[in-house]
C-alpha cells in the first residue's frame, strides 16, 4: 500500500517536472528578440532606410500593438509593405507580430525573408535570426533553428585588435 502510494506520488512529480521542462516560457518579443539585438556592437551597422510614410505607419502599428490591437497592427504593417514591398524593417516587424501571436509559420516565412534578403549586419539582421530560430524551434525544425542561432554571430563584425 505504502509502496504503491509513494510510487504514485513520485510518478506524478516526475510527470509534472517533465511537463514543466518541455514547456517553453511564452515568447516575449522585447526580451527574446529585440533587447539582445539592441546591444549589437558590430562595427558595421546597417539600419535600412525607411521612407517617411513607412516610418509613420510603423509607429502607428507599434502603438496599436501596445493597445492590444494586433489585427489592426498587421493591417497597418501591410499598408507599409504596399508602399515599400522590399522593406526588411517592415518584414521583420511582421515576423515579430506573428511570433508573439503564436503564428509560427508566418513568423518563419517573414523572418526567413529578412534572413536571406535583409541586412547582413546590425540589429535587424540579429532580430531576424533570433525570430527565425524561435519560430523554427516552435515548429520543430531543429536544423533551421541551429542554423539561425549560428548565424546570429555573423551580424556582428568586430574590429580587428590593434597592438
Amino acid at each position: 500500500m505504502n509502496f504503491c502510494f509513494y510510487r504514485g506520488v513520485l510518478a506524478t512529480i516526475l510527470i509534472l517536472a517533465l511537463s514543466h521542462c518541455s514547456q517553453r516560457k511564452p515568447i516575449d518579443i522585447t526580451d527574446d528578440v529585440r533587447d539582445p539585438s539592441d546591444h549589437n556592437t558590430s562595427i558595421i551597422q546597417i539600419a535600412p532606410m525607411v521612407p517617411e510614410a513607412v516610418q509613420i505607419l510603423i509607429n502607428e502599428a507599434e502603438a496599436q500593438i501596445e493597445n492590444g490591437l494586433v489585427n489592426e497592427a498587421i493591417l497597418t504593417f501591410n499598408r507599409a509593405l504596399s508602399i515599400s514591398p522590399t522593406s526588411a524593417t517592415v518584414h521583420q516587424h511582421l515576423a515579430e507580430v506573428y511570433l508573439s501571436e503564436g503564428d509560427y509559420k508566418a513568423a518563419f516565412k517573414w523572418s526567413n525573408w529578412v534572413f536571406t534578403e535583409g541586412p547582413k549586419h546590425g540589429p535587424i539582421c540579429e532580430r531576424a535570426r533570433r525570430t527565425l530560430a524561435l519560430a523554427a524551434e516552435m515548429l520543430g525544425d531543429v536544423e533551421t533553428q541551429a542554423m539561425a542561432l549560428d548565424a546570429i554571430a555573423s551580424c556582428t563584425q568586430v574590429s580587428t585588435p590593434k597592438y
Binding site: P51, E52, A53, I56, L57, E60, Q64, L69, N71, E72, A73, I74, L75, T76, N78, R79, L81, S82, I83, P85, T86, K105, A106, F108, K109, W113, T116, E117
Partner: protein, 667 residues
C-alpha cells in the same frame, strides 16, 4: 337577423384582425438582407508616390469628388496647375478611422513632391456587391445618425402630423379627398409616413378601397408596436429611392452613396432636400435623367422646409442656389466585372453565398481603379493595334507583392466570357524559364554558362510516335550557352536540357511550385504543350517578379464584418521556394530578352524605361500569342488569340507584346 349580421361581422373582422396583426408583426421582426460590399484598394498618398495628375483626377472622379474653383468643401477638390486641395470624406477602415480633412499635395513629374499631412489614404471605391435574389441594395443606419434637418424635413414634406397621429391622419385623408374632388383627379395622397412604410413593405400595387383599409389598419397596429423613432428609422432604411440598372436602391445610405457618393452624415441641406423630394417619384424626378424637374422639386422641398421652420432664411438662400451636385462616379461600373470573378473565386471557400448576400460583409480588394481602366482601354484597342479577328486578356499585379491590381478577360466590355480566368490555352515558350529554373535547382553543376546542344532531336514517345522538335527559324545553332538558349528561345536546346532533368522530375518540380499538371507524358511539355489560363500563367511569373517570394496572386486583401471586425486576411501559402540566386539568374536572361531577345521591341521600338524583364510565347501557327513581363513595380501578362483556336498571324512579339507595351506606356 341581428345575430346573423353580428356573426357575419365577427366572422370577417376577427380573421382580418389576425391577418393584419400577423402582417405587422412580420414587419416589426423583418430582417433585411444586407448585401456584402466589395471595395477597391484605397489610394494611399505619400511623398514620392508615383502618380500622374490624370490618375489622381481619375480616382477623385471615380470616388465622386467634384472639382471646384474656390475653397473646397467636403467631397470637393480644387486643382491649380499641379497642386491639389482635396476635402476628403473619411472612411472607417478595419485598422482605424480616417477622418475627413483637407489634403494638400503637389505633383511634379508624376511624383508626389509635397503633401500635407505626410500620409493619407482616400476612401476606397465600391466596385461590387453580393445581392440576394431581390437585387436590393441597402445598408441600414440608425435614425440618430441621420442629420436632424433630414429627419424633420421628411416629416414636413410627407407627414406634418406624424408626431401626433396613431398611424392614420383622418384629417389628412379628408383634406386630400377634397383637393382631389376639386381637381377631378388624384393629385394628393393622404398617406402618413407609417402608411407609406406599410405600403412599401407589403408591396401593394393596386389603389383599391380594400387596400387602403388594409393599409390604415396595419399602420394603426404598427404604431402600437413601434415608437415613432423606430418607425422613422425603418422608413429611412426601407424606402425605395431609385434604380441603378437592375439593382433597386433602398434606404438613405445607398441613396446618398448612389446620388452623391457621400456618407449620410455628410449630406448638405440641398442634398438632403433632393433625396426627400424624389421619394415622391424616384423615376419621375430621377436627377440623372430629369435634372430640371428634380431641381424644381428640390427647391419646392427647400421652400417647404423654410415655411415649416426646418431651415432658416440663410440656409434656404444658399441651398436653393446650389446646383444638384450629383456624383458622376457611376459610369465606370462595368469595368470591374471580370475582376469580381476573381474575388468570387477567392472567397467562395470561406463564406457561404447566404452570408455574402445577407450579412453585409466588407471585402477589401487590391483593385486599382486607374490601372483597371487603362487595362480595359488597352484590351479594347485590340482591334486597332492588331485585328478584329483576335481576342485578348490582360492580368496586372504588383511585381513584388501579390496584389492583383487589374484584370480584363475580353476586348469587348459586353462580353461575359472571362478569358483571363476561363480560357485554357497552350502557353508555348512561356514555360522555358521554368525549365531553366528547374535545371538550376535540380541538376548538379548546371549554370547559365553551361553548354547546351541546339541540334536536331528525334524522340520516341510513350505512344510510339517519333517527335522531332524544331526551332522557330528552322535552324539549329549547335553548341550554345544555356543563357543564349533561353534569351533566344531555342526549342531544341531547351528540350535537351529538359531531358537531362527528366519529365517526371520536372512535373514534380512544377507541382511543388503550385502548378498541377494533368497531362505530363510527352516531352513537348518542355516547350509549353500545356493548357493554362492567363491568370495561371500570371501566377508563375509572379515567382520571377517577386524573386521567389510570391506564388499566389490575390484579389482580396481582407474581409471584415459589417461592424469592421476582421474576419480573414490573405496570406501567401508557403510552398517550395526556389533559391533567390537561381531566380536572379533566370531574371538576368528575362532582362536580356527585352534588350536583345524576342522581346527587344520593348526597348528598341517602344523605348520603355529599363530595366524590363519578360518572355514571349507563341504556339503552333500563332494560335496563342503571349507575353508576360515586369519591371520593379508591375507584372503584366497578356494573351491574344482566337476563341475558335484557329491560326493567327501573330507571334508573342507581334501580338501580345504590342498590347503589353502600350499598356506600360500609358500607365
Amino acid at each position: 337577423m341581428c345575430w346573423y349580421f353580428l356573426g357575419c361581422c365577427i366572422g370577417l373582422v376577427v380573421p382580418w384582425y389576425f391577418y393584419i396583426d400577423h402582417v405587422t408583426e412580420s414587419i416589426v421582426n423583418e430582417q433585411w438582407d444586407i448585401p456584402s460590399v466589395v471595395y477597391a484598394r484605397p489610394l494611399e498618398l505619400y511623398q514620392n508616390k508615383n502618380i500622374s495628375p490624370q490618375a489622381l483626377m481619375f480616382e477623385l472622379d471615380a470616388l465622386g469628388y467634384i472639382q471646384v474653383s474656390g475653397t473646397p468643401k467636403l467631397g470637393q477638390y480644387q486643382k491649380y496647375q499641379n497642386s491639389f486641395d482635396i476635402y476628403t470624406k473619411g472612411f472607417n477602415f478595419a485598422d482605424g478611422v480616417t477622418v475627413p480633412k483637407r489634403v494638400k499635395l503637389t505633383l511634379s513629374n508624376g511624383v508626389v513632391e509635397a503633401l500635407s499631412p505626410a500620409i493619407y489614404r482616400l476612401e476606397p471605391k465600391v466596385i461590387g456587391h453580393f445581392f440576394s435574389a431581390g437585387l436590393e441594395n441597402r445598408q441600414p443606419i440608425r435614425v440618430t445618425e441621420i442629420p436632424d434637418t433630414m429627419v424633420q424635413g421628411l416629416q414636413a414634406v410627407e407627414d406634418r402630423t406624424f408626431s401626433e397621429h396613431h398611424g392614420v391622419s383622418w384629417l389628412g385623408i379628408l383634406r386630400a379627398a377634397i383637393k382631389n374632388m376639386m381637381a377631378g383627379e388624384v393629385i394628393q395622397g393622404g398617406s402618413t409616413i407609417t402608411q407609406q412604410l406599410v405600403k412599401n413593405k407589403l408591396q401593394y400595387n393596386q389603389n383599391s378601397l380594400l387596400r387602403k383599409l388594409h393599409e390604415a389598419f396595419a399602420a394603426t397596429l404598427l404604431e402600437s408596436k413601434l415608437d415613432k423613432a423606430a418607425i422613422l428609422e425603418m422608413y429611412f432604411n426601407e424606402i425605395y429611392w431609385g434604380q441603378d440598372g437592375k439593382v433597386s436602391i433602398h434606404g438613405v445610405v445607398e441613396a446618398a452613396s448612389y446620388y452623391f457618393a457621400k456618407p449620410v452624415k455628410r449630406l448638405n441641406i440641398a442634398d438632403q432636400a433632393l433625396l426627400v423630394g424624389i421619394i415622391k417619384g424616384p423615376s419621375w424626378y430621377n436627377p440623372f435623367k430629369q435634372a430640371k424637374r428634380a431641381l424644381e422639386r428640390r427647391n419646392l422641398v427647400l421652400k417647404t422646409w423654410l415655411d415649416t421652420g426646418v431651415i432658416n432664411q440663410a440656409q434656404w438662400q444658399s441651398s436653393s442656389q446650389q446646383p444638384l451636385g450629383l456624383s458622376q462616379h457611376r459610369r465606370l461600373r462595368a469595368d470591374y466585372e471580370d475582376y469580381m470573378d476573381v474575388v468570387k473565386r477567392q472567397i467562395r471557400s470561406q463564406f457561404s453565398q447566404s452570408d455574402l448576400k445577407q450579412k453585409g460583409l466588407k471585402i477589401f480588394t487590391f483593385l486599382d481603379p486607374y490601372i483597371q481602366y487603362k487595362t480595359t482601354q488597352t484590351a479594347m484597342k485590340t482591334n486597332d493595334w492588331l485585328s478584329s479577328d483576335v481576342e485578348s486578356a490582360i492580368v496586372v499585379s504588383g511585381a513584388q507583392n501579390a496584389e492583383l491590381l487589374a484584370l480584363t478577360g475580353s476586348k469587348n466590355g459586353q462580353s461575359h466570357y472571362n478569358r483571363a480566368l476561363l480560357a485554357k490555352r497552350q502557353i508555348g515558350s512561356l514555360i522555358k524559364p521554368l525549365v531553366y529554373l528547374a535545371g538550376l535547382e535540380q541538376l548538379a553543376g548546371f549554370s547559365f554558362q553551361s553548354e547546351l546542344s541546339d541540334s536536331a532531336l528525334s524522340l520516341k514517345t510513350n505512344d510510339g510516335h517519333v517527335w522531332q522538335p524544331k526551332n522557330w527559324d528552322q535552324k539549329s545553332w549547335g553548341k550554345i550557352t544555356a543563357s543564349q538558349a533561353l534569351i533566344h528561345s531555342r526549342n531544341q536546346a531547351t528540350v535537351g536540357l529538359g531531358l537531362k532533368i527528366g519529365l517526371d522530375r520536372f512535373v514534380q518540380y512544377l507541382t511543388q511550385l503550385g502548378l498541377n499538371i494533368n497531362r505530363s507524358h510527352h516531352p513537348s511539355l518542355f516547350l509549353g504543350a500545356i493548357d493554362l489560363t492567363p491568370f495561371e500563367v500570371h501566377h508563375l511569373y509572379g515567382l520571377f517578379s517577386s524573386r521567389g517570394k510570391n506564388q499566389q496572386v490575390y484579389a482580396v486583401n481582407y474581409i471584415t464584418q459589417s461592424d469592421g471586425k476582421l474576419l480573414s486576411q490573405s496570406q501567401q501559402v508557403r510552398q517550395k521556394q526556389p533559391k533567390t540566386a537561381n531566380i536572379d539568374q533566370v531574371n538576368q536572361a528575362l532582362h536580356a530578352i527585352t534588350t536583345e531577345g524576342t522581346a527587344k521591341k520593348i526597348t528598341q521600338q517602344f523605348n520603355l524605361p529599363q530595366p524590363m524583364f519578360g518572355k514571349t510565347g507563341t504556339t503552333n501557327k500563332g494560335r496563342d500569342s503571349w507575353f508576360s513581363g515586369f519591371n520593379q513595380d508591375l507584372l503584366v501578362t497578356v494573351w491574344v488569340g482566337r476563341d475558335d483556336n484557329q491560326p493567327t498571324p501573330y507571334s508573342g512579339s507581334s501580338g501580345a507584346l504590342i498590347l503589353w507595351s502600350h499598356l506600360f506606356m500609358n500607365l
